[in-house]
């Protein structure tokens, strides 16, 4: 398969691993931001190809994992209303709210639809004018343009039965928050290639200078990730810190200006609570004034209780530590015992980009459970 097989070429991967071994003189700790990268690393065992001096730690780049529990509770409550159709990406459905997840609401008759693109909500809103279509807009900068496009289309078509729960988050403020922590051990970053495809990497340059960390914009295939590590290690060994672009086949310095304009037309930055991390300044998106009539939380104010600003997590769940790279999933006492994909305590155990799910799925040797016995 073109654009995939070349970047999974075993000889090239082994060659690059060898070059990293040759380059490495001392221990380095590098965080990959994106959950997609984490899954590729654990799935292909890429960390096991690296010298023992290199430690990869997994970042908060799983949008589902950091969505505050109050928003999931709100989505569940709305999906239970008989006149609401809730549209969500598939990843979100199994993430536990306080008492239930969206899949449970669906099983009890709630109209919850898995969408493949936010634009799928438009024909739904047209076909069912008597229903309220609610888009659960979750994601980083990567999916924000498509969400914004859905609202622009809704406005152009005069649709008034479509609204959006905006749970979008932004990567650079989260990186700054992690680097501001006195406990962090990060010496270099692999930035998320998809996010930078949209946003470019200018906004990472101040981070790089302020915190003196190399940041390498990196793709998602095995060869991309190892090349990202190689570039980060090279900078660290040479005592440099700059933003480098490994993912040149997709990312330009200014990103995709058209997509950025669309985001900017519809959304503006706002403070946002990250599940497990707390409130991070200007780290989320909300609708601009001109689009407030599409804000689900405003539209359904009478149906939903005011949102709490506290994220109650089960006390035992240490996903906040995992999301900051302070704890490996397998070092969490609840991992694979009291927290499994069947009975998750936190979102990283169920999301397809969650670090805990990656370790459970690809690394942890547990008794296979027959689906028939569930």
């Amino acid at each position: 398969m073109k654009y995939v097989d070349e970047f999974r070429n075993p000889q090239a991967v082994m060659h690059l691993a060898e070059r990293i071994r040759e380059k490495t003189r001392q221990p380095w700790t590098i965080m990959e931001i994106c959950g997609g990268q984490t899954h590729a690393i654990v799935r292909y065992g890429l960390d096991r190809l690296l010298p023992s001096d290199i430690t990869l730690i997994h970042g908060p780049g799983c949008p589902v994992c950091v969505t505050p529990i109050e928003l999931i509770d709100t989505a569940c409550r709305l999906a239970r209303l008989s006149h609401v159709t809730l549209c969500s990406f598939g990843d979100m459905l199994r993430v536990p709210g306080t008492n239930e997840d969206l899949l449970t609401v669906k099983a009890h008759g709630g109209d919850v639809r898995i969408i493949y693109s936010p634009l799928d909500a438009i024909p739904l809103a047209q076909a069912y004018p008597e229903r309220e279509i609610v888009l659960f807009a979750v994601g980083f900068e990567t999916t924000a343009p498509a969400q914004a496009m859905a609202l622009l289309q809704a406005r152009r078509l005069g649709l008034t039965n479509l609204s959006m729960i905006v749970a979008h988050v932004l990567v650079p403020p989260a990186m700054a928050a992690i680097l501001s922590s006195p406990y962090h051990q990060i010496q270099g970053f692999l930035a998320a290639g998809h996010v930078c495809t949209i946003m470019g990497y200018e906004e990472y340059e101040p981070l790089c200078r302020t915190y003196r960390v190399p940041i390498v914009v990196t793709g998602f295939e095995p060869l991309d990730i190892l090349e990202g590590v190689y570039l980060a290690v090279s900078q660290l060994e040479d005592g440099r810190w700059t933003v480098e672009n490994q993912y040149t086949r997709s990312v330009k310095r200014h990103g995709n200006p058209e997509a950025r304009n669309i985001i900017n037309e519809v959304f503006e930055p706002t403070d946002r609570t990250w599940r497990g991390l707390g409130i991070i300044e200007a780290s989320g998106l909300r609708l601009r004034e001109a689009f407030r009539s599409y804000d689900t939380l405003e539209k359904f104010r009478d149906d939903i209780a005011p949102l709490s600003t506290i994220s109650p997590l089960p006390v035992e769940c240490q996903s906040g530590q995992v999301l900051q790279g302070l704890l490996k999933p397998i070092d969490c006492p609840a991992f694979a015992s009291r927290c499994t994909p069947d009975r998750p305590l936190g979102a990283p155990m169920v999301s397809s980009e969650g670090a805990c799910a990656a370790y459970f799925r690809y690394r942890h040797q547990h008794q296979p459970i027959s689906p028939k016995s569930r």
Partner: protein, 323 residues
């Protein structure tokens, strides 16, 4: 209801047992061990590239019999129809079932039909039950699996699940995405006739290869090692799975099976499999290992990068990811 039976079902399925129109079909004595299986079929859309719910309801039950080495003989068919199902749709499905049954050399000897209110069903549900005869010397199952056995799959994986998903969700993938739904009894019968010693066959339906191997490892209390690069998967299925964030090893098949047999039988089995259209892409994908000291059954997948990971059972269905 009488009209449905006389105008649609009976003419399509006509045979001496069904035509007697009794409460039960009286079948001739069978000389040997009888395999008996039942399955229910629910799929949307009802018609998809490479098949429909009718042919699926025949092939699925035929394949469950074939996996035990049984020669399929008789089927029953029950229909639950939702009020409002167009007659033309029902006719198409029944005609497809009749043609599938004929191609498998089996007879539908009894049946039942119920109609439920609109909104209480999903157009049509079909349940089929099958009976087949198992040759005396055939004894296949997880209890026969031993360390040292080889694992074969009969062809490329994931086509059925992806073809149905992409049609249902209106994902217009280019490429030739067609369900692999097909009857497997002929190739199985050829393996028996040629005297291949098999230990276990299992069709790779819901949950795909990964789920089936985990079930077999657990039942047989063994480990299994699979090489990722040896597993046949078409370009179209790989591409669609990459786009959607799905793993083809968990995607359903309706005309593929895994074959576990002693090493010295592999070449003969492959020669036979490759002569049949349904299994011409058969490949050896791995082997059965003894349990380690932890006594935990396992499936290990060797990656192309000389690393090994676990091939786990998924919790619930695979869900498409965000980005």
């Amino acid at each position: 209801m009488q009209r449905l039976i006389h105008e649609i079902f009976q003419p399509a399925f006509s045979n001496v047992f069904l035509n007697s129109m009794q409460d039960s079909a009286i079948l001739p004595a069978l000389n040997g061990r009888v395999a008996f299986t039942t399955d229910a079929y629910v799929v949307q859309p009802l018609f998809f590239p490479g098949g429909d719910i009718g042919s699926l309801a025949i092939f699925g039950t035929v394949n469950d019999l074939a996996m035990q080495g049984a020669k399929p003989l008789y089927l029953s068919a029950s229909f639950i129809l939702e009020e409002g199902l167009p007659m033309e749709t029902l006719k198409r499905i029944v005609t497809s079932m009749a043609s599938a049954a004929t191609s498998c050399g089996i007879q539908i000897v009894c049946g039942d039909t119920k109609v439920v209110d609109h909104g209480k069903g999903d157009q049509i549900f079909i349940a089929t039950t099958g009976i087949g005869l198992v040759p005396n010397h055939v004894d296949w199952g997880p209890h026969r699996i031993q360390p040292g056995d080889c694992l074969l799959v009969s062809g490329d994986l994931g086509a059925h699940g992806i073809a149905v998903l992409s049609m249902r969700e209106g994902l217009n993938f280019s490429g030739n995405l067609r369900s692999d739904a097909a009857p497997l009894h002929q190739v199985v019968s050829a393996l028996i006739e040629e005297g291949v010693t098999c230990h276990c066959l299992r069709d790779l339906t819901r949950g795909g290869l990964a789920t089936v191997l985990n079930e077999l490892a657990m039942t047989s209390q063994t480990g299994m090692q699979v090489e990722e690069t040896r597993i046949p998967i078409s370009e179209s299925v790989r591409g669609a799975c990459e786009m959607l964030g799905l793993d083809p090893l968990y995607v359903a098949n309706e005309g593929r099976f895994v074959l576990i047999l002693p090493q010295n039988q592999v070449q003969t089995a492959l020669n036979i499999l490759k002569q049949h259209q349904v299994s011409h892409q058969a490949a050896v994908i791995g082997q059965v290992l003894p349990l380690s000291e932890s006594r935990t059954p396992f499936i290990h997948l060797s990656t192309p990068f000389q690393t090994v990971r676990i091939l786990d059972v998924l919790s619930g269905e695979q869900l498409p990811r965000i980005c």
